[in-house]
Amino acid sequence: MLQKLLVFLVVTCFCHAAELSFDYTLKEVTAKPDAKLVFVEFPFTNKSKETIKIVNYNAPCSCMEARIRRPDKKQSLVFAPGEKGVIIGILEFENFKGTIDKIIEIKTDQSKDGKDAIVKLTSRVTIPVLIGPDKPFLEWEVGGAMTPKEVIISVQGEHPINILKKEMGYGADAYFDYKFEVVKPGFIYKVTVTPKKNNEPTLGALRFSTDSKIGRFKNVQFFMSINPKKKK
């Protein structure tokens, strides 16, 4: 019995590789609306009894870099039991807005179940949308009712954003008419779109230029389409 227990303990020790303990593997961050670079930190500790070496740390996305910082200032990727570190993800955003997940993969010299031990750290970054439509599209059906439909464009926050220019894309003015109203200057606008004809499938777009100083909010757009009749 004791022999069987001993064998079980030995096997168990070999099956469970030492791991770095991360405070969290998913971090949600809300950046400023004008953010171009976002830093996300993942602190970790070697809580095991083994020395662990980080052999690779990589962000598969070209928009992201990964770095390591050690509180003890050692220039080493080897972490003895009890030692701490921080993985830092540096994300670069151009005109992106909204929410997106970015992953960093950390590979150590430990193996688990015969495979390389890889930890995935997820940065969930939100860049708030300061101005946008309440719906990204309007739709009608070929041969259906040509009912006017509305889109409300609203501005978040305390700073007004004015719409300077309106443009209809894809030659859609042959198929759609629209009326633009300022409900609350700098903050709320209403656009009412009415099809002129609906005899064939068509795609249109309405694009608005703004006076926002932040590049990603210089344009607002939504699409409209006349779709084929749905088959019953």
């Binding site: 598969p60 997106i100 990204p136 795609l203 694009r207 699409f223």
Partner: protein, 153 residues
């Protein structure tokens, strides 16, 4: 002098024979990225499905972004997360026509873990420009050896 040349030649012949034997047994080296249905997440698709079951008749969307010149997939639309509004505006007509024609859309980025494909897919679907949109498992890594599909930068 002659003995080491002879030995080198003998080892070379053995190596060539082993290589030919391996080729005869196992066939050409498979560079394709392995893709198993059980590994696929929601909306993901294997390249083998796209080229085999679907006959390659899809609209490709390149979500890689980045500023450096790189090999491109022939006929692929470019929609990146960094300039989505602008690029979606340019690509919208092609997406809508593909939707009317019943042609599927497949989005790819650099690798499986880059996340851009999922974002671009969500933007296409949420704008109702197309509703049958997939993400290529492995991204560019799955396509990189397909010289028949790629154009040089």
């Amino acid at each position: 002098m002659k003995s080491w040349i002879l030995q080198t030649a003998v080892f070379g012949v053995i190596a060539i024979m082993c290589a030919l034997g391996t080729y005869a047994i196992a066939g050409k080296y498979q560079r394709d990225l392995p893709c198993h249905p059980e590994d696929l997440k929601e909306h993901e698709v294997c390249l083998s499905t796209v080229l085999g079951d679907w006959g390659g008749d899809v609209l490709w969307v390149d979500a890689r972004g980045g500023k450096t010149a790189k090999p491109m997939l022939k006929g692929a639309l470019v929609i990146s997360e960094s300039n989505t509004d602008e690029e979606l505006n340019h690509a919208a007509q092609a997406l809508f026509k593909a939707k009317l024609a019943g042609k599927k859309v497949v989005v790819f980025c650099n690798s499986r873990a880059c996340g851009k494909s999922a974002y671009v897919r969500k933007e296409i679907v949420s704008h109702h420009l197309h509703d049958d949109v997939y993400i290529l498992y492995g991204g560019w890594q799955a396509l990189a050896d397909r010289d028949d599909l790629i154009t040089a930068p």
